[in-house]
């Protein structure tokens, strides 16, 4: 039971010339939901896309084009972030929510009600 990251080949169309950066993610599971957190510095609500197609979740975050300044030292990679995941079938796709705060995307993936563990009271 998990959310699997899709391999690179599957998520970058062959005709695409665009390069992407794979964001680092944490995925945790609680009784009620999965929570996916991704580091996407520089991405805002307006430049973020969260796509859910069937059981596939794709996150794409674009960063504003850097101002034309002279670089004296550079370590950052300006390419857009992109990563796809195959969702666990127990996730209720209709109730998935996403928000981005200080460059960290948080996607909440609730489990469908019928999958949640339920205590059955035993009657006489």
């Amino acid at each position: 039971m998990n959310i699997a990251s899709k391999p690179e080949t599957a998520r970058t169309p062959a005709h695409s010339e665009e390069h992407y950066v794979v964001p680092s993610v944490d995925i945790t599971e609680t009784k009620d939901e999965f929570v996916l957190e991704a580091d996407m510095p520089g991405v805002t609500k307006n430049t973020l896309e969260v796509l859910l197609e069937g059981s596939e979740l794709t996150i794409v975050g674009r960063r504003p084009a850097p101002k034309t300044r002279e670089y004296l030292h550079r370590e950052s990679n300006p390419a857009a972030f992109r990563r796809s995941f195959v969702l666990d079938p127990m996730i209720d796709a209709g109730r998935v929510t996403a928000q981005i705060d200080n460059g960290v995307l948080c996607v909440r993936l609730p489990k469908a009600d019928e999958i949640k563990p339920r205590r059955i009271s035993v009657t006489d």
Binding site: A4, P7, D26, V35, M40, R69, Y71, L72, E75
Partner: protein, 155 residues
Amino acid sequence: MRLIRYSRPETWGWAPTEQLSKLREEIDRLFDAPFADISRMGEFFNGWAPPLDLTEDKDNLVATMEIPGLSKEHLDVTVHEGVLSISGERSESKQDKNAQAHRRERVYGRFHRSISLPKPVNSDSIKAVYRDGILTVTMPKTEEAKPRQIEVSVG
């Protein structure tokens, strides 16, 4: 610690191909951005080394650093004797105690980076802004360090 990620033994079961695709991602990453990744070798020795850029325009030196998920109270920026130092700490978000981690790729903890400034800056008017996970430090150059156009007069 980017090239070798810790995975919980019990999560190996679900995909040996996953491990391979991770390796592939890392190799792709190396080819996509050789400079960025060589600079990240620092992570092996110093913990977290967020990427730092230094740019210049006519009036300012501008340093930017990608450090998503911090609060500005946990950031410390100093300029002393021509060296800019940025340090801070990212703590893990509060989670349910019973939460099970499936993937932990994000880095937490303290970081400290310094860079020598190639030009003198006016340390009284430095501005630091943290927005969308990026810290931007704008350091006005001193008058002496700015380029000056010299008019040539006919003698």
